[in-house]
Symmetry: C2
Subunit: 297 residues, 2 copies
């Protein structure tokens, strides 16, 4: 596909996802406040990078992206739960998220915790409830197992713990990478792996794509750190320089800006190498790579 077709594909998938998410909440037999609190954060927008990675991976195997819609919704629910809990007063204590008041600012702390718990649990329900003849039961179980690993105490939760424990401390590059590999990396990797599993990728392809996503995840994080210094406030939607103010350890603070940019380029190159090794139709995934490397928000 040419660049315009790729952009159109991603735009279509995003719209499809955002049309489907509210339906999952609407069908719940649950107290109204809970549904509102869950929907509020789930429908707050964002780049939807994780679901898009899943759809792009399905495309790379020339599979119908629709087969991945429930898992894409589950991934976005799980990501949203992590944002709600991260923003809580006892965690990062953030009042704003994507320019809107955070969940606990609108619904109170108790309801925000429960909305997060609800989204996390519902993510597993959505995958377990899939009745799709094209997906073998063994694959369905693997999708659940890998999601729990990516999100749980060996994945995202471990990263959040390390992030909290590292606050205000000097961190080594290895410690910084541990945080990113777990806090954001594992769920980005899961999004690609889920696409590969749904597409019936070989074990070698699964490994290559998983490594691709690992490099992409680190590149994503390095770009984030660079944007906090060089970005435009209008575009990233938060104040530039907040990391420096909070004395947060970042890639530029550890490696200099030049070093950070070099490392970003390296991970992008490695990501593309893994992609080529996987031997898939790589137009959309390549595009996402370039997007991550050059994004301005």
């Amino acid at each position: 596909m040419n660049r315009m077709a790729v952009e159109q594909f991603l735009q279509q998938q995003k719209q499809r996802l955002e049309a489907t998410l509210p339906r999952y909440i609407a069908r719940l037999q649950a107290p109204d406040t809970l549904k509102q609190a869950m929907a509020y954060s789930l429908e707050a927008g964002g780049k939807r990078i994780r679901p898009l990675l899943l759809f792009a991976t399905l495309h790379s195997f020339e599979k119908d992206p629709d087969i991945g819609l429930p898992v894409a919704c589950a991934i976005e629910m799980l990501h949203t739960y992590s944002l709600i809990h991260d923003d809580l007063p006892s965690m990062d204590d953030d009042d704003l998220r994507r320019g809107k008041p955070t969940n606990h600012k609108v619904f109170g702390e108790a309801m925000a915790i429960l909305a997060g718990d609800g989204l996390l649990t519902y993510a597993f329900q959505v995958i377990a409830e899939m009745k799709d003849d094209r997906i073998a039961p063994e694959v369905q179980i693997r999708l659940i197992e890998e999601l729990a690993k990516a999100a749980g105490p060996e994945g995202m939760v471990a990263g959040q713990v390390a992030d909290i424990e590292g606050e205000g401390r000097e961190l080594s590059l290895a410690q910084l990478e541990y945080i990113h590999r777990h806090k954001t990396g594992k769920m980005l990797q899961y999004s690609v792996l889920a696409g590969a599993l749904l597409a019936g990728a070989s074990e070698r392809q699964q490994r290559d794509l998983y490594e691709f996503a690992s490099h992409l995840g680190l590149a994503f994080q390095i770009r984030d750190d660079i944007l906090d210094i060089e970005g435009s406030e209008d575009k990233i939607g938060k104040r530039v320089g907040s990391d420096v103010e909070k004395k947060k350890v970042t890639y530029p603070s550890l490696l200099t800006m030049e070093g950070a940019k070099g490392k970003l380029a390296l991970h992008i190159a490695e990501a593309k190498r893994c992609l080529q090794k996987a031997g898939v139709k790589d137009d959309v995934l390549q595009y996402i790579c370039d997007l991550v490397a050059t994004r301005d928000h």
Copy 2:
């Protein structure tokens, strides 16, 4: 089995469960503080009524209880997460649980939230990771689906939301029952259903046992309310009369003590009727019924 053999069976299952739970935590590749916080609440004791219901149901089909050990551990992890989050300052704000400081009192609020998130997610991982030839993939998926339904926004989380929203308000009997059916009932029902699914129960038996557990769950809750008035502080491990002090709506407050005792007897009788209908070996489940009806802690 005679009464002594039943008691021995339950004691053995409890010991087996409590020997296995720490192993699940020990094998995690996760930050030490997180593992400690998860283990602290998971290993704090308690009646373990949910896992015991699962083992008792397997016994009622003359199945090896060992087949249910991972699911029993997952149930207890999920129950423990709910206690940790319920105790948080923004929820019930409890300092003590089973005579020990609550999780957030020991590890801080952020870590308590994350330990809860970790246990909840790990519960799904434990079931998804089961490699047991005796369990069909379709059954494994159903076990995950039903667990998510019982614990999530249509189950336990809904009950906790209703409980919080009902605080300090007059509640009708229907509203009180909604809270209990969801907050504690659904997970008790899941424990029995999981046993039935693992045992290969017919759909009719699954329905009868599910209804059995519904009555048992309500009986459990009514007995709880009665104990708060008539119980011995030494035995229940918390101050008697705390519901009255907090002006909590309870079965005795809505129905008088006599009415509550009548309703307890009714649910126990109905539970036993459902058990008989299921046509299973009911010695252990009958014993648990009697225990719930007459327990003093």
